[in-house]
């Protein structure tokens, strides 16, 4: 055993009761935060094309690209799994490149072409990756799936992955807690074979 009772701290403090004042939440010092308080005049105009549909919006500048999609455009297929760029569930394609939409402000994408999971099927026909994910049961709960598929679309466009090991490495930004990884790799290989 590496852990022994003697190595452990027994509690918070020698003094059983002490008072302290802390800012909860994100821990933003209140003086700084108060200055950052937005007003309606702080709204920014953003124009972008999502799944071939043009949108012009006035947004709170703090709106992430992910929240723009989910809250303003009702495109809830793009998922929020961590909101801090760690899980990949929010992956979308911006001008054909895969990015984490939670890690970026919508206002930074004025004029961009965005493709989300809702924009992959054409004329009612599933994208080959969507069909491959169904065929190989490459998901369980389905929550990471839109991000996995968008990421895989980006991966195929990059053209870097040739082997299963390369797919695994280059898909490692998309976490699947259900653990469908082996089937995800098989699905991507099927779609690669078709492209």
């Amino acid at each position: 055993m590496t852990k022994k009772p003697s190595e452990k701290s027994s509690g918070a403090s020698k003094d059983p009761t002490r008072r302290r004042k802390v800012a909860s939440g994100a821990g933003v010092p209140s003086a700084v935060a108060a200055k950052a308080r937005p007003t309606t005049s702080d709204m920014v105009s953003v124009s972008l094309v999502v799944n071939n549909v043009h949108h012009s919006l006035a947004l709170d500048p703090r709106t992430t690209l992910l929240d723009l999609l989910r809250e303003h455009l009702d495109l809830t297929g793009t998922k929020k799994g961590c909101d801090q760029g760690q899980c990949g569930a929010c992956t979308v394609l911006v001008d054909g490149r895969r990015i984490n939409s939670c890690l970026t402000f919508a206002a930074m994408y004025d004029g961009a072409q965005i493709t989300t999971i809702e924009g992959l099927a054409r004329n009612g026909a599933l994208h080959p990756l969507q069909q491959a994910f169904i065929d190989h049961d490459a998901f369980q709960c389905g929550y990471c799936t839109p991000g996995q598929i968008c990421s895989a679309v980006g991966l195929l466009a990059e053209g870097r992955a040739k082997t299963a090991d390369e797919i695994r490495e280059l898909m490692s930004g998309n976490i699947c807690r259900c653990g469908a990884y082996t089937n995800i790799v098989a699905a991507i290989q099927q779609a690669m074979g078709q492209s």
């Binding site: 008072r19 004042k21 909860s24 994100a26 950052a36 308080r37 989910r70 929550y143 469908a180």
Partner: protein, 740 residues
């Protein structure tokens, strides 16, 4: 009963999931929806002396800040907060009073027009505390841990009675092994953030979309907490983005969202952040001592299994942690002790196969160590200790094809090519290790109610308030209904995840597949009986003399099983009877027969390759052979096991919730620093379902959601020992532990 049961049918909800059409709890958008952001405590224990929300309230767009000081009334007794699966104790009450019971405890809810404003304003809430000394370390609380007292509730979770004379048997054993094993706190980390959307309907009723494994449990709980009438609140979870046990009990996002919706008479959404989800339940840390005594030929003669697990200060969560040892192997003498340590943390809870992966990490590591001491192949040791009976309760198993799991698993893995000596196998600069372990879990069935509505055009709706958390419940329900109603799969629609549907238990314990499939069978029988009555009234009916148990439904017909030429089409029978729709609802109870033990089993074989200099461990191959009764869908069942093996890899090598015990606060409360396996961590996994007939229920279903994780971590730990000669008894096996 072809054509669907037992086949690799693709998920019927697959298209919804790959197109983004499947909607999860936080994805129901309605006009005027308000957004709640949760403020959490930064101390582990004490009380709030001052909570200043004035700065937050001044932010444009903030509607209200709810705290214990200004919230509307909530129930004031423990019973109101007890959900269907609550452990004994006094449940946590969100925003109830000034007391802080754990770090990250919700203490305020900022409600605003947008999520951006709510989040910002939440950062302006300031809090003063009176702090009290806390304990969050199981090793610090270990000495004060108290034995679980029999008879404890819930029944069945106390350790089994000792048998034989374990102390004497241990003393006289030719070969003994004794060791202490540790599994840290682990968090479920489902991909979907916990969230609830509460829609305040025009008539004042609430529609609650919640992330849960039990819509009716949440509905009953909310009625208790807020004194609402059942008809005033409906809870739905059509899709659940993973839960793994974390959604069995109602969580505080639903309470806070309902609290705000009632206070403001508006629709409200509350979504937790990923760090805040570390204030939900977790797999408790577990310290275990195992002592094994054996004869020189490998006959196991004594098992002593002691465990300490952790719970909160206010509830007693535990499962049957120790009894697995004396159940899995034949052994005349056995004893168990289970103590509970109280920590200043949220209450621990069920996480995929609660108790068994942790208990069997200890047992199966110890068995491997015993095999080394005996100079016996670890698989051979298991075979010599093979148990044909449940010795804990002195009864046979309803079925047990574990021997076949060992045989088929070993063959697929190539176990007979193993050189038993540690550090004897290599691949270039990497050490190669092969390890194995056994798994065991329960095969449970629960009371469930299923409603089927069949229309004359040959389509059917099957309804039950169960959940599909990714397990494939939608699909297996449709398969079973299609086969039994004799209809094409595409004619079946499934309704689940809605508290207004017929009763279902929470979706856990691997019991839903067995419960709902047999539940469908019962209701189909009622539908069939009604159809037969109609068919008998058709002029010159060929079924005039047929008894209910002599007909089946096939290809849209009611058919005499003894003579297939005697049949009436369902459409004709219903049309002639002037019936457009047949609706039946039946409750199915599991057998009350306790004369046999019902368990699933597995044999897990793992290969690791370890960089000799750096110690980086890769799990390159896993073979998991499962004896789990009848498999309803080979595709989704295989995914359950594949996913469980990935969980086992995480448990073995990655997962550990790290608490700074001085602060009493989780330090890696995010999905990057709490390591879960990613794609690059997972290589070749082979799943084998061995044939196993079981007649405990009509369909012979045992359930597969949990057996797959059990045994994986010890198989990997044993492979690490085989590769390196280093025995690691505390998880996860990080590379620093391989260095001297």
């Amino acid at each position: 009963m072809a054509p669907y049961i037992g086949t690799a049918t693709s998920r019927i909800d697959g298209i919804a999931k790959v197109t983004g059409a499947a909607k999860y709890a936080a994805e129901f958008n309605v006009p005027g929806l308000l957004h709640g952001s949760v403020v959490t405590s930064t101390i582990a224990k004490g009380r709030i002396t001052r909570l200043d929300t004035s700065a937050a309230m001044r932010v444009k767009g903030v509607i209200d800040v709810l705290t214990h000081e200004n919230r509307p009334p909530m129930a004031d007794n423990d019973q109101a907060y007890k959900d269907d699966v609550a452990p004994p104790g006094s449940p946590f009450r969100p925003l109830y009073d000034d007391k802080i019971k754990f770090n990250l405890q919700p203490i305020a809810l900022v409600v605003a027009e947008t999520s951006e404003v709510a989040r910002f304003a939440a950062s302006l809430v300031t809090v003063e505390y009176e702090e009290v000394a806390h304990v969050t370390d199981i090793f610090a609380a270990r000495d004060a841990a108290v034995p679980i007292k029999p008879p404890a509730s819930p029944v069945g979770f106390t350790p089994p009675k000792a048998r034989g004379q374990p102390n004497r048997a241990l003393a006289r054993a030719a070969v003994r092994h004794e060791g202490e094993y540790y599994v840290p706190i682990e968090h479920h980390n489902p991909m979907e953030l916990y969230g609830a959307t509460v829609i305040h309907e025009s008539d004042g009723k609430l529609t609650v979309y919640d992330k849960t494994q039990g819509v009716q449990n949440v509905q009953r709980y909310l009625c208790g907490v807020f004194g609402m009438k059942p008809e005033g609140v409906r809870v739905l979870s059509p899709f659940v983005g993973g839960a793994f046990g974390s959604g069995l009990r109602p969580q505080f996002e639903a309470v806070l969202a309902v609290l705000a919706a009632r206070a403001l008479e508006r629709s409200v959404r509350v979504v937790l952040t990923r760090p805040q989800m570390y204030a939900l339940g977790y797999r408790p840390a577990m310290v275990q001592r195992i002592a094994l005594g054996a004869d020189a030929d490998g006959t196991l003669d004594a098992i002593a299994h002691d465990a300490v697990t952790a719970t909160s200060q206010f509830e007693e969560y535990f499962r049957q942690e120790t009894g697995w040892s004396g159940l899995l192997y034949k052994c005349a003498n056995a004893k168990y002790e289970h103590k509970l340590a109280r920590l200043d943390l949220p209450t621990s809870c069920d996480m995929r196969a609660p108790s068994a992966p942790t208990a069997l990490f200890a047992l199966e590591s110890a068995m491997d160590e015993l095999a080394v001491a005996l100079e016996l192949d670890p698989l051979e040791l298991r075979l010599r200790c093979y148990s044909e009976r449940d010795q804990n309760h002195d009864r046979p198993f309803s079925s047990k094809a574990l021997r076949e799991c060992y045989r088929q698993g070993a063959e697929a893995f190539g176990w007979n090519k193993r050189n038993g000596a540690p550090r004897s196998m290599r691949d270039g600069s990497e050490l190669v290790g092969w390890g194995m372990a056994t798994g065991i879990w329960e095969a449970l069935q629960m009371p469930i109610t299923v409603r089927i509505a069949l229309t004359a055009n040959g389509s059917a709706e099957v309804a039950c308030a169960t959940s599909d958390i990714g397990t494939g419940t939608y699909t297996i329900m449709a398969q079973v209904a299609a086969d039994m109603l004799g209809l094409p799969l595409e004619n079946i629609s499934i309704k689940l995840g809605d508290s207004t549907l017929p009763n279902s238990p929470v979706e856990g314990g691997s019991w839903i597949a067995a419960s709902v499939s047999n539940g469908i069978a019962t209701t189909v029988a009622a539908v069939r009986n009604e159809l037969l009555e109609l068919a008998k009234k058709v002029p010159n009916s060929p079924l005039a003399n047929a008894a209910p148990d002599e007909v089946k439904l096939a290809d849209g017909m009611i058919v005499d099983e003894r003579d297939g030429s005697r049949s009436v089409s369902i459409a004709d029978a219903m049309r002639h009877g002037g019936v457009e729709r047949i609706e039946q609802e039946e409750t199915t109870n599991p057998t009350a027969d306790d004369s046999r033990a019902r368990n699933t089993h597995s044999a897990v074989f793992a290969e690791v390759k370890i960089d000799e200099e750096i110690g980086v461990i890769r799990v390159t191959r896993v073979v998991s052979a499962i004896a789990g009764g009848r498999v309803l869908n080979t595709k989704t069942a295989s995914s359950q096991i594949l996913g469980s093996v990935v969980w086992g890899i995480g448990m073995a090598l990655h997962e550990e919730t790290l608490i700074d015990h001085k602060l009493g606060r989780v330090m890696n409360a995010n999905i990057a620093e709490y390591h879960v396996p990613v794609n690059a961590d997972v290589h070749d996994i082979k799943v084998i379902f061995v044939h196993e007939h079981d007649d405990s229920n009509p369909l012979g279903v045992k359930g597969l959601g949990e057996i797959g994780i059990i045994g994986v971590a010890p198989a990997i730990a044993n492979a690490v020992y085989h590769a390196t000669g280093k025995r690691v008894r505390d998880l996860p096996i990080t590379l620093d532990k391989l260095h001297p």
